[in-house]
Amino acid sequence: MELRANEFRARAAANLGDAKLQRGLGLIKVKAVVNRASAVAEFGDFEALRETGKAIRDRALADLDLYLERFEREAAARGAVVHWAENASEACRIVVDIARENGVKTVAKSKSMVSEEVGLNDALIAAGVTPVETDLGEYILQINDAEPPSHIVMPVIHKTAEDVADLFHAKHGTPRKTDPALLTREAREILRPKFLSAEMGVSGANFLVAETGSTLIVTNEGNGRLCTTLPRIHVALTGIEKVVPTLEDAATLLRLLPRSATGQAITNYVSLHTGPRHIDESDGPRQFHIVLVDNGRAKLLAGEMREMLRCIRCGACMNHCPVYQAVGGHAYGWVYPGPMGNILTPSYVGLENAVALPHAATMCNQCGVVCPVKIPLPDLMRKLREEQMARGLKPWPERLGLALWGRAAQRPALYALGTRIAARVMKWLGGNERLIHRLPLAAGWSDGRDFPAPAGKTFRELYKERRK
């Protein structure tokens, strides 16, 4: 996927004025957020469940090498082929090679963020293989000139039914219709033959179960099931961090994931795949390949971002983030938007390529309190800011301002003098209204807000006067 994370500031500002996007984002507050809240309340002790989920993910990460080896052994014993990819290009090469060796012309794809991360569709197209996105949202994006998704669970949250109506009318040549149910049926009818004719299905995996060597996917549409049942080859592409020890651990995480993502107690389908079809079965793929992708994950395990590897990709952090709710997913400029993206994007593509993202948060911690596996997202963003500081990745005016302020704050007499002057200057700037309309050096504030001016003396001065 094209990386545009360093354009965050400009794209975020532009998106504030996009009425259609704002309408879609507005729905998150009244639907996803409300639905999650009621599902969480209905469960009972959801806080204890979050704690349990965190412990499961931490257990898996603490022995990640051992669980991965166990997963590989069990999967291979059942006839799956396990591949390892160090980076995006290796992951693509592995999948393309499987397609080539088997004469694959069409690939039916179920939603996979890792496939977006590694840019699989482009690699398949370059190799003469046609990928067909089958998740409704991803399909809409694909036929709209491969537009990137703006949310990891609801990829077309930025589009209205009218947009989809125009697109289907133009691309399918069918009569224009706006009813989501009819649009969904139209996509179903177009995609059904693709499922039936595709030689290969590509899915992600929400979890890898070490105990049994199984991949697990959750879907609502059923496209994930079709992609993993009908084509003669199934390739599951996922990150190495997705491993969980046991079926019971998966069951616990399944109580957290759909509730946090969409407010469902369970998704319509939860599918667990272990090995290819048996000789006497009438369906299921004849080859089952599992591609385990590192692409920066092992490096995170070693550092301060390790807790991010607990992430189960529910999207609750973005649904609840006031910044995401205002600017939408495209502003973040890569695969993972919102608070998770503020950490994953700089971690995977380099801090220098996503300079603004660790700062693209008010640190309100709404994300941290809804995260089903208790990732302290603001703390991790702050650590990335520290790394930026250490690596000199901050612009000089900011560094200078911070240094001057920091020096003064450590010298009370100097600080008292500085604030004394500042209070008087601001009082003067505020005039009779006691409102500053233009703040020198801080247009970011005063372009859209006044600044209430102080009365002219600091507390320090007044307190001294009153004590006399």
């Binding site: 022995d63 969904t184 496209n223 049942t229 107690a265 667990l272 795949h273 079965e281």
Partner: protein
Amino acid sequence: MSARDAILGRVRSALRRKVSPGDTATIESHLAAHPVGLQPPRDWEPELRFRARAEALASTVEKVPGLSAVPGAVARYLVVNNLPTGGVCWPGLRKLDWIGAGLGMEDRPARGDDLVGVTGCFCAIAETGTLMLLSGPDTPAATSLLPETHIALVDTARIVPFMEDAWALLRAERGRLPRAVNFVSGPSRTADIEQTVTMGAHGPYRVHLILVG
């Protein structure tokens, strides 16, 4: 060095492993014990809970006294809902008297244009109103997936409280996982367009559950 060794090497160095391969004792004990995590309080009777949950997920539910009453119930459901009276069923259900109920049920693999699919289930989960289906020669996965209408028979004696109970049943009865375990909770749906919930995305538009017992 292979990608596998490089990745595992990085993981081991991140975890500061001193010996290679690592000591598997800690993971072995967890895998062997496979402890149950946190479940919601069980203040319900499984069959009632299953039914209520399934209905909340937009499945329809009815109950018949025994397997012999199933073809009649299927026929009534299809006729009342103006649906075709023929389709495919799991080979394991071929012995039911479909013809006697006026139905043309074929015990063959489902095709893309089949409209009705009849399956059983391995067990059902009360907590979430979920069916657990195992793939196999007599229980193909596509029967519950390709047709627009999925009718599933649920033995009330096999409604277990939680998913963990379903895993325990599977371990006890089968010993190992089939190729595919599919948990099904109502008709296929999507909310991708304006977060409007729409049934029948790629799988069945409707799921009808016939409790037997």
